[in-house]
């Protein structure tokens, strides 16, 4: 009990320390004092000592203190800028400008120029009409799918080679299906895109002849090649 109240007293004093930071910054701001008279580094180091507290009140006080210190840094920036501008006399600036070449002068101007914006060669009526046109187009534009961008691949099946290819693919497929199990389509088809398209066509041919079947496995989102199916032959669309 005693420990708990001591901890509360500790938290109270830490919150007060943070509130004092806020008051200090407010005073500098209100009275226009030199913002460098406050050591931001030391105050931040103090705050860092027990920043890992999970007490909500203390965290809020931390947040207020950090916000005040960031205002102080901003004041320091303005102070330096004011001092810098005060030291730039017209004569100094003129001498500096005379010493620079055209490209350097242009670079300086571009960093300080905020160009006027406007739409040329169009009147207000057409500007509104153009905006409406583009707005109207937006929902009608179909979303582009990466698959649609892919270049279609053709795999020529020479009439002379077809039976040969079909026979070799068939024996490879039957070997994989030996024992009455099912094999995934990915295991059956080769790696290359062109070869996959070619083998998919051969597989379709075998399915149509009823020599093997195809089944979709929704659990793992894949197609399985099955042994000769019973009954009616069904065609299945597969994506290669």
């Amino acid at each position: 009990m005693c420990q708990l109240s001591a901890r509360r007293r500790g938290d109270r004093s830490r919150i007060e320390a943070r509130d004092r930071i806020v008051m200090l910054v407010d005073e500098v701001e209100r009275e226009g004092k030199d913002p460098f008279s406050v050591s931001v580094g030391e105050l931040l180091a103090d705050l860092r000592e027990d920043y890992d507290s999970d007490d909500v009140e203390l965290l809020l006080a931390d947040s207020r203190a950090i916000e005040a210190l960031s205002r102080l840094v901003e004041m320091q920036d303005e102070w330096v800028e004011g001092r810098l501008l005060a030291t730039i006399s017209p004569e100094v600036l003129r001498r500096r400008a005379e010493a620079l070449d055209a490209r350097e002068l242009a670079g300086a101007l571009y960093s300080a120029q905020f160009p006027a914006v406007g739409v040329s060669n169009v009147n207000e009526v057409y500007l509104v009409r153009a905006a409406e046109y583009w707005e109207g187009l937006r929902p009608q534009r179909p979303p582009e799918s990466p698959a649609r961008r892919e270049r279609p691949v053709t795999a020529p099946l020479e009439p002379d080679n077809f039976e040969e290819d079909l026979s070799s693919f068939r024996s490879r497929l039957m070997g994989a299906l030996e024992g009455g199990g099912e094999v995934s389509l990915d295991e059956v088809l080769s790696g290359g895109r062109e070869a996959r398209v070619r083998e998919a066509y051969l597989l379709a041919h075998l399915v149509t002849r009823g020599e093997v079947g195809l089944r979709y496995d929704p659990e793992r989102d894949r197609y399985l090649v099955t042994p000769r199916p019973e009954g009616e032959v069904r065609s299945v669309v597969i994506e290669v």
């Binding site: 810098l84 501008l85 600036l93 400008a97 101007l109 571009y110 120029q113 406007g118 207000e124 500007l127």
Partner: protein, 190 residues
């Protein structure tokens, strides 16, 4: 101009925003030179146009633009020019000025810095010709004058467009920050 557009102020907030968006479009469309004079806005939006301009400023900020006004000395807001400028500097978004024109303008701003409102034309020509060829210097002066960046007669003064587009203090800092010969940076952090 419709009678609805010239209606006086005191309308509902939605109407005010609607007017502000119409005014924003008007400010965006260039008619030869950027911006619109106050009296043009009064004629179209009524005597409450300054209130509408405040809303325009808010709407423009959402597009990364800033509403600026350039007042003529001793004249009221009706004679001011209102225009939209980019919130980012020309270094990021591009400038209508070529390198030669930008260099000439930077030099003229430096010559008029510190309350010196005008510089004799001869002096400006001399300074420009020390950096650029005579022909280029004359061309730059002509173009800057035509675009509204400077006013030229026997003396050269900064024009309405420089007052609207160029942050003179920032330019002064940038000029000081550059070390002649390419060692410094032209774009110091603000």
């Amino acid at each position: 101009m419709s009678s609805r557009e010239g209606a006086p102020s005191g309308q509902a907030g939605g109407d005010l925003r609607d007017k502000a968006l119409r005014m924003l479009r008007m400010l965006l469309v260039n008619r030869g030179r950027p911006g619109v004079k106050g009296w043009e806005l009064r004629r179209r939006f009524g005597p409450g146009y300054l209130k509408v301009l405040e809303v325009v400023g808010v709407e423009a900020a959402k597009l990364g633009l800033e509403l600026r006004s350039v007042e003529e000395e001793g004249k009221g807001p009706d004679f001011a020019r209102y225009l939209l400028v980019s919130s980012e500097p020309a270094l990021e978004v591009g400038s209508p000025l070529t390198v030669v024109e930008a260099a000439a303008l930077a030099l003229i701003v430096a010559l008029t810095y510190g309350g010196r409102g005008e510089v004799p034309l001869k002096e400006v020509q001399q300074e420009l010709q020390a950096k650029l060829s005579k022909w280029r210097a004359e061309q730059a002066l002509y173009r800057l004058s035509r675009l509204g960046y400077i006013e030229v007669d026997d003396v050269v003064r900064l024009g309405w467009r420089t007052k609207a587009e160029v942050d003179v203090e920032r330019l002064a800092r940038a000029l000081i920050a550059i070390r002649p010969g390419g060692g410094g940076s032209a774009g110091p952090s603000p």
